[in-house]
Every structure is written in structure tokens, then in C-alpha cells.
């Protein structure tokens, strides 16, 4: 399997120093699907530690000479990230205590304050997960598992009916077991995949036994996953490319769906899934063959030249003027950001096209395509705002606030006649205002204003 394309995920300073020898290593030993995860995790680690370093900062034989600088920057980044977590945890305590206070005073019997507590606690656990690795990461996974499932069990038991909470409980327990086996090094990725598959099949079997209607779906899911598992095993023991593997899985699952469809009584439906998937496969093909411009080196060079020219214009004619933050490494980082944004927009337009076509084929069900497209378009808008506003967190937050609430208001108006939208609107508005009050851009603006006032008074 070819994994060298993952090198693009690493920061420039790291690539300048280690890319060549890392490539040599990847060429020397056959890579597996597990390596994809391993290399991606290493890229994330390198991004956190070395992203802001200028090119050449990780010089060969760096040793003690270059150690203080990168170590300091990486420590600064991590401290800032950790401060974000502590701020989140503090806000979590204050806001939830306040909500429980309000709940106790206004509607003592009805514990609605549990819902924001529940959702936020899971978000907080995910935030903690970004700070740790190894077994500590497993501990955050365990916490998330416990919070999620106790919440679901509570909802299930308080509303009565079937004990449906057991299904997500079993499914998430399977994932947790897989993670634990990996964290304790009991077996590799393929072994974990086999075990998780076995556990999931046992659950699917139980589901099919309890609900006879679900039998066909369970069988189909089990067979499709089995094909993916076979492909995983194939990649482990041979040097097959990711694209060939994807094509094989596509053909295998396609054949399975066709047979299943022909054996059933209804009209033919198998091509709906295959149509959508086929477009994704075509996009994969286009990317791996260099047909998508934003993946090529040529695009990168052109964009780099363009930004350098712009930076020179902004800096003015003086040749020895400080570059004002437009050094080659910053430009390279900017090009990477823009490439990622282009790719995101490309993926979104492929998704949009596929979704709309599939929805047109199944118009009787209604405009279901809006459901996945709304959160995705909000995410894309936030991503674009962040990149185009040159990493202003508050700008991205504003866009998130607007797109999220616009969607919720639309849902409320269409489905329930505008009677609850002000709750999330109010809650997210408070969060946004708190962020605005403590944002580094706001604080800098206040400091600038102060120093201007002081200067004015001195005159």
C-alpha cells in the first residue's frame, strides 16, 4: 500500500529535515492499513509540536544547539492548548451550576438541566482526549463511553418503552474493547479488526434474532463489512495501492448488493448506493492520478509565487524592510491552509452533487439531503471563515453561531411552529459573548486602545 502521500500532512519544518529518510523507510518496508493510522497520528503530533517553526529549524544533527527554540515553541503551544481545556472545564462548572440553580428554582420536579450537562460533559471529554495519548487516551474514551451510555439509559428508562439503550451500549462497548486491545498492545490493527468484527456480528445476530424484520439488513451489513475486513487483511500482506483496494471493495460490495437485490422481491435498488459510492471512487481516482489541481506541486508553486508577490507589494519598495510576517515558511503554511480549504470545498461539492442526484431519485421520501448538508455546509463555512480571516477564532465562532442557529430556526419553523429556537439561540449567544469578552483579539484591541489613550493624555 502506498503511504507516501501522507507526508503532506506533516509541517514544512519537519518535512525539510526528515522527509527524504522517512520516504526511504516507507519504500523499504511494506505498509499496512495500521500504518495509515500510525503515520497520520505522527503527522498530528508533528503539527502540534513543529507547525510554527521556520524551515530549517529542525536542522540535521540539531542536538543541543537547536534544542531550546523548538522545545520552547512546542511547549508554548501545548500550554496554550491546555489553557483552552481548563477554560472549558471552568466554564462547564460555572454554567452548569447556574443552570441547575435556575432549574431548582423554576421547575424543581423536571430536571431539564441534565441535558446541557450531558452534552457538554461529552464535549469536554473529547477536548481532554486531544491532550493525552496512550492509556490516558483510553481513559478518556472510557469516560466518554460511560457518560454517553448513562445518559442514553437515563433517557430510555425515564421515557419507558423498549430497552433500546442496550444497542448503542453494546456497539460502543465493542469500540472501547478494540481500543483497549490496541492500547495494551494485545494485538495489531488487523487482529483488533477481526475481534471487533466478531463482536459486532454477535450483536447483529442478536438484533436479527429479536427483530425478524432486521434480518436482511443485518446479513447485508455483515457481508459488506466482511469484504472490507478481507481487503484489510489483503493490504496487510501485500503492497496493494489504496486505490486498487478501494476499487476491490467497491466491486465486492457492489456484487453482493446486486445478488441480494436480484433475490429480493422488490424493485431493483442496488444502484442507488453504488451511484453515490461510484462518485466518491471517481474522486479518489482523480486525486491519486493528479487530476485534481490542488493536490499537485504546480498549484503549490503558483500559489506560493502569488502570495510572495502580494507580500512584496504590501511591504513596499524598501528591500531591507522587515517582511512583516511574510517569510517563506509563513507563505508555505498559508498555501497548505488554502489547499486544505480547497479540498474541503471540493469534497463538499462532490457530496452535494451525489446527495442531490440521490435525493432526486428518491423524491417520495422528501428532501432528506438537507439533513446531512446543513451541518456540513455550516462546518465548511466555519472552516472558510477561519482560513480567510487569517485564523481569527472569533470570526469562525461568529459564523458557527449564525449558521447553527439559522438551521435550528428553520427546523423549528418548519416542524414545530417556532416554539423552542430561542433556547439554543440564547445559550449559544451567551457562549459567543463570553468568547468575545476573553478573545485574544479583543484583549489586544483593549490594550491598544489603552496605550493610545495614555499617549493622548501625555501630549
Amino acid at each position: 500500500m502506498k503511504t507516501t502521500w501522507l507526508l503532506r500532512l506533516f509541517p514544512q519544518a519537519w518535512r525539510d529535515r526528515y522527509e527524504e529518510e522517512f520516504r526511504a523507510l516507507l519504500e523499504e518496508r511494506p505498509a499496512s492499513v495500521g500504518d495509515l493510522v500510525d503515520i497520520t497520528a505522527a503527522a498530528g503530533d508533528a503539527q502540534i509540536r513543529y507547525r510554527q517553526l521556520p524551515a530549517g529549524a529542525l536542522a540535521a544533527g540539531g542536538g543541543s544547539g537547536s534544542a531550546p527554540q523548538p522545545a520552547r515553541r512546542s511547549a508554548e503551544r501545548r500550554v496554550r492548548w491546555m489553557m483552552g481545556f481548563y477554560a472549558n472545564a471552568l466554564l462547564f462548572l460555572i454554567v452548569n451550576l447556574a443552570l441547575f440553580g435556575i432549574n431548582l428554582v423554576t421547575t424543581p420536579g423536571e430536571w431539564w438541566a441534565i441535558f446541557p450537562l450531558w452534552g457538554w460533559a461529552m464535549f469536554l471529554t473529547l477536548h481532554a482526549a486531544t491532550l493525552v495519548r496512550g492509556r490516558a487516551l483510553l481513559a478518556t474514551h472510557l469516560a466518554l463511553f460511560a457518560i454517553l451510555n448513562s445518559g442514553l439509559a437515563w433517557i430510555n428508562l425515564s421515557t419507558g418503552g423498549d430497552l433500546w439503550f442496550q444497542w448503542p451500549l453494546a456497539a460502543t462497548a465493542t469500540l472501547l474493547i478494540g481500543h483497549a486491545l490496541l492500547a495494551y498492545g494485545v494485538t495489531g490493527y488487523l487482529g483488533v479488526h477481526v475481534i471487533v468484527y466478531g463482536l459486532a456480528m454477535a450483536q447483529l445476530g442478536a438484533t436479527a434474532w429479536v427483530y425478524p424484520d432486521a434480518r436482511e439488513g443485518a446479513l447485508s451489513a455483515g457481508m459488506s463489512w466482511g469484504i472490507v475486513l478481507l481487503a484489510h487483511a489483503l493490504s496487510r500482506f501485500s503492497r496493494i495501492s489504496l486505490l486498487s483496494l478501494h476499487t476491490l471493495v467497491f466491486l465486492g460490495v457492489g456484487a453482493q448488493l446486486l445478488v441480494q437485490d436480484l433475490l429480493g422481491d422488490d424493485d431493483l435498488w442496488f444502484y442507488y448506493q453504488l451511484l453515490g459510492w461510484g462518485v466518491v471512487l471517481a474522486a479518489h481516482f482523480a486525486v491519486s492520478r493528479g487530476l485534481v489541481p490542488w493536490f499537485g506541486d504546480e498549484w503549490e508553486q503558483r500559489k506560493r509565487d502569488e502570495l510572495t508577490r502580494l507580500a512584496r507589494l504590501e511591504a513596499g519598495p524598501a528591500e531591507d524592510a522587515p517582511d512583516g510576517g511574510h517569510s517563506p515558511d509563513l507563505i508555505a503554511a498559508r498555501v497548505r491552509e488554502l489547499r486544505l480549504l480547497h479540498l474541503h470545498a471540493f469534497a463538499f461539492s462532490v457530496g452535494l452533487g451525489v446527495g442531490v442526484v440521490l435525493n432526486l431519485l428518491t423524491l417520495s421520501v422528501g428532501p432528506w439531503v438537507l439533513w446531512p448538508l446543513w451541518p456540513w455546509s455550516a462546518l465548511l463555512a466555519v472552516h472558510a471563515a477561519y482560513v480567510l480571516s487569517r485564523r481569527s477564532l472569533i470570526g469562525a465562532h461568529l459564523v458557527l453561531f449564525v449558521t447553527l442557529n439559522a438551521g435550528l430556526i428553520a427546523i423549528d419553523v418548519i416542524y414545530s411552529g417556532a416554539n423552542w429556537f430561542y433556547w439554543p439561540l440564547g445559550g449559544t449567544a451567551i457562549l459567543f459573548l463570553l468568547h468575545l469578552a476573553f478573545d485574544r483579539d479583543t484583549l489586544r484591541a483593549i490594550r491598544d486602545w489603552e496605550s493610545r489613550r495614555v499617549a493622548a493624555m501625555m501630549e
Binding site: A24, A42, R49, G63, A71
Partner: protein
Amino acid sequence: MPDTSGGSNRFTDAGLLILISLADGSKHGYAMISDIQEIANVKMGPGTLYAALTRLEQEGLIEAVPSNDRRRPYQLSPNGRAQLRVQLAAMEGLATTGFQRMETA
């Protein structure tokens, strides 16, 4: 949230394995992976290896050996050798205590 990756005085598991692997001489990436598999029965992925190598080199515990080959070999720095000695001695002491306590129990 506590930092579990260890400061410059403590090695992560991958870091320690690499230092031990380099203790008998310089090795390049693939040789380290094979060696670690052999001595510790740990299958180290290329990403894990290079994340740890980067960190060890930036902390001055290992150094790259000049080479014309694309596969760059690494060796322990004097500082790395000294720190490995301290770490292994501490582990040895801990193991001895552990065995002694099990015998007296």
C-alpha cells in the same frame, strides 16, 4: 490534564526502545524497527518511530550520522548514553525491589 508523554528526563516507551536499540551502535530506521521487534517483540510503526526520533534528536539524546545513503543512520549522543544508563539503572533497581517483595510475600 497531566502530560503523559514525559519530560526530557523521562522516556516514552518508544523513545526508550530506540535508545536501547542504538546502545550497541548506529542504525537506520528500518534496522531499528527490525531490532525492536526482535528484542522487545514490539511492532513499531514508521510514524511512531519518526515521532520519537524527532523528539530524541531535538532533545539532543541521539544524533544523525553523516551518510550518502538516503536511509540516515542515528547514534546515541554522549548525553543520550548517560541518560539511558540512569534510566536503565533505575528500572533495574525497581525490578530488584519488585522481585524481593514477591519473595517475602
